[in-house]
């Protein structure tokens, strides 16, 4: 019979191939285990973040020039890490090929052994099952499977919950509610009282415009002519003074503690100081920012201060604590830089950090959150409150956008993508519907608000500010850069009216007082010039110490915070 040839037995060959198969299988198994062990080992390895290497890198970073020994160690480490990485890749490739080879050998041998020791066909299985019974069993099992599928589906349907529908439902609920301030959706203007004082960084609304016009134009620090008083700042800080009535507030901070100071604006006498205690671990800060970079704000009854720890405290004018809370330690390359601002009812905190970016409005009296809106980019800029035709808008700069919010609801009103780089300058506003923003590595943009929504009028990208905020007069815009350049641009066209180069850069922001501009450079030289289409110097005066902060302007007086001293310029 022909079949005989097909089922021919070759027992010896069969046995041999069987042993080959076993050897190959064992070999493959060993390779497989080695590969898996290697995989697990590699998963745990992290040579780039090896504590030793990190420590070396830190050592290197802390020395100015870098020590040769540390450099050498890093190089050795780096070489080992790279060699290990590439030799491992090579190993894996070889291991994979060996495994494949072993498995092929094993299966070939097994196939051959079966070919040479074939199983003979058998006839008439004893356990022949009944066709009909099988079909009945199948129907039952199939029904069971169907029920199983239904149960699994139901379980899945109820186990998987949707956060999205919750968020959407919440949104609908809010949309369904009547607006909290029916009839007047937007706040029309800032309180008059605020405009008469200096309630926040860069004055009322935080746009660098003073309401008084009679501030001094000449004084002499050395002789003391025109200097009303001078007092030492107790604790260092980069924040600017704020003034309400006859009280001046500022903060200072170092590793020892963060404090709020209140001075008598008429005499310079320190009225009180309060330490803002914190329970959080002090974050690392850079020298350029320190623990007390944000400027305080006041609503006319309370003052608010925030520090690098995220600790936000409110005091009344007598120094009694009103409330205090920690907003979470800000994590952010240069530390907490955004200053506070208040519209009299609410306190606004721009909290754009790496972990989360948001703008928060707190009730001034209680500190309870009124609203909170998530944002998308980090920044060091401070908020501004501008009065537009359609009401007050809260303006925030970040690494990409300038965005406006409704101060009452936190609803985003508009956003324009026109910034870039690491943004510290805040927005400017000319009071006539044109917002002016600028940052180094991006450009300066003039945004005209038509019915409360912006359109870009023009852009300019030559001299741009890095820290100091731009300033908008009615028809002219001004930029002071960190390199010491001052530029004047036409508000309507963006045409450069004049450029002026000074010896030192600016960190303090320029302030418009009547028809003149005060701008103080990093060496403490006060440049006073006309806010006009042609550069005209009014005075150049020396403070005798570096000035980082933006001065406060009140009726007939200027308050300047130098690196060490606080000055009040003005007559009796």
């Amino acid at each position: 019979m022909a079949g005989n040839r097909e089922f021919k037995q070759r027992p010896i060959l069969g046995l041999m191939t069987q042993s080959v198969a076993i050897v190959a299988a064992l070999f493959s198994l060993v390779i497989c285990i080695l590969l898996m062990a290697d995989f697990v080992r590699i998963q745990k390895m992290d040579p780039l973040n090896d504590p030793h290497l990190l420590q070396l890198r830190e050592q290197l970073a802390n020395t100015t020039e870098g020590s040769e020994a540390v450099i050498k160690q890093i190089r050795t480490f780096d070489l080992y890490a790279r060699r290990a990485f590439f030799s491992n890749q090579e190993q894996r490739r070889t291991g994979g090929l060996l495994l494949l080879g072993g498995m092929v050998a094993c299966f070939v041998a097994l196939k051959l052994s079966i070919l040479w020791k074939p199983k003979l066909p058998t006839v008439g299985k004893s356990d022949k099952v009944d066709h009909w019974e099988l079909n009945a069993l199948f129907r039952q099992l199939m029904a069971g499977t169907g029920i199983f599928l239904v149960v699994v589906s139901l379980f899945l349907a109820f186990a998987v919950q949707s956060d999205l529908s919750m968020v959407l439902a919440r949104g609908d609920e809010q949309a369904g509610k009547p607006a909290p301030h029916v009839g007047q959706t937007f706040q029309s203007a800032l309180p008059e009282e605020m405009k008469a004082n200096w309630p926040s960084l860069r004055g009322p609304g935080g746009i660098g415009v003073a309401n008084s016009t009679n501030t001094p134009m000449h004084w002499d620090i050395e002789s003391g002519d025109g200097v009303l008083w001078k007092t030492e700042v107790p604790v260092h800080g980069f924040n600017s003074p704020i003034v309400w009535g006859n009280r001046l507030f500022l903060t200072g901070g170092d590793e020892e503690g963060q404090e709020v100071f209140c001075f008598d604006a008429n005499t310079g006498k320190q009225l009180w100081s309060k330490t803002v205690e914190t329970t959080v671990e002090l974050p690392e800060v850079t020298e350029d920012t320190g623990y007390a970079a944000p400027t305080m704000a006041t609503d006319g009854q309370r003052v608010f201060a925030i520090f690098a720890t995220g600790e936000l405290a409110a005091f009344d004018f007598e120094g009694n604590p009103v409330w205090q809370k920690n907003l979470g330690v800000p994590t952010n390359p240069y530390g907490m830089g955004s200053s506070l601002i208040s519209d009299g009812e609410r306190l606004f905190v721009q909290y754009d950090h790496e972990e989360s970016q948001k703008v928060i409005a707190l009730d001034c009296a209680s500190g309870n959150p009124v609203w909170q809106t998530p944002r998308k980019h980090i920044s060091w800029a401070s908020p501004s409150l501008i009065e537009t035709e359609t009401g007050v808008q809260l303006l925030l700069n970040d690494e990409e956008n300038v965005t406006a919010y409704d101060p009452r609801s936190g609803k985003q009103l508009w956003t324009v993508k026109c910034l870039g780089g690491e943004v510290a300058p805040s927005p400017a506003y000319n009071g006539k519907g044109v917002v002016f923003v600028a940052n180094e590595y991006a450009q300066a943009s003039a945004l005209k608000l038509v019915d409360g929504t912006p359109e870009i009028l023009w852009q300019y990208d030559e001299y741009l500010p890095e820290i100091s905020s731009p300033l908008a007069a009615e028809n002219l815009f001004f930029i002071t850069t960190s390199a010491g350049d001052v530029v004047c641009l036409d508000a309507a066209t963006g045409e450069v009216k004049w450029e002026q180069e000074f010896d030192e850069g600016f960190s303090s922001s320029p302030v418009l007082v009547g028809d003149r501009i005060y701008s103080i450079d990093l060496e403490g030289v006060v440049h006073i010039f006309e806010a006009a289409a042609e550069y005209k110097e009014i005075a150049t005066l020396e403070m005798g110490e570096p000035v980082y902060a933006t001065p406060a302007f009140m009726d007939g007086r200027i308050y300047i915070r130098g690196d060490e001293n606080l000055y009040c310029i003005g007559d009796e």
Binding site: L60, I74, Q89
Partner: protein
């Protein structure tokens, strides 16, 4: 032997099935397309680092490309030097690339050329972010098509958080930034 009627019916159903298969195939071919391959849109890429880890190949078929025509040839290169580098030289302590796949060559004062060694590059995109943040963005990631096995469902595309992978015609398989520059100007 089957009855004739049954056979005829079967022939009819078979013909219908053949027409169906053909129809389905042709209807999907309405816009008969050239061969498509995967590529990264450099404008969308966020340099998350998954190209280095999610490719079915090891090392990944994604490599860093350098468009020299838009490079500033800076001495202080954000793609080459660690931001905390003390000196601008080729020392390992100053280099950003974990596999030292970038070679820095002096061209003329003050310009340096940066060249990617594709055998060493693992497509991690660390240099790309450096170049984007502090440079012209002349370094960017691309799928290298002599390496890519062109999976039907690209494993990196599936893992890409910024939807930067797309299919492009095989005749123009790269999205070069230098080309984009040409198109704009």
């Amino acid at each position: 032997m089957k009855p004739k009627g049954k056979r005829k019916r079967r022939d009819f159903v078979r013909g219908a099935a053949a027409v169906l298969v053909g129809g389905v195939a042709v209807s999907s071919l309405r816009s008969c397309s050239p061969k498509l391959v995967w590529q990264i849109d450099p404008e969308k890429c966020t340099q998350c680092g998954r190209c280095a880890t999610h490719c079915v190949l090891a090392p990944s078929a994604v490599k860093c490309f350098h468009s020299y025509s838009i490079c500033g040839y800076c001495d202080l290169c954000g793609g080459y030097l660690r931001p905390d580098a003390k000196k601008r030289n080729t020392g390992a302590e100053n280099q950003l690339c974990p596999t030292a796949a970038i070679t820095r060559t002096f061209i003329e004062n003050p310009y340096y050329q940066y060249k990617i060694d594709e055998d060493l590059c693992i497509g991690c995109g660390i240099c790309v972010e450096g170049c984007d943040v502090f440079g012209n963005g002349s370094m960017y990631l691309q799928v290298k098509h002599d390496l890519c096995v062109n999976c039907n469902e690209c494993a990196i595309a599936h893992a890409c958080p910024s939807d930067a992978f797309k299919r492009v015609p095989a005749s123009e398989p790269y999205l070069l930034k230098s080309d984009r520059e040409k198109r704009i100007s």
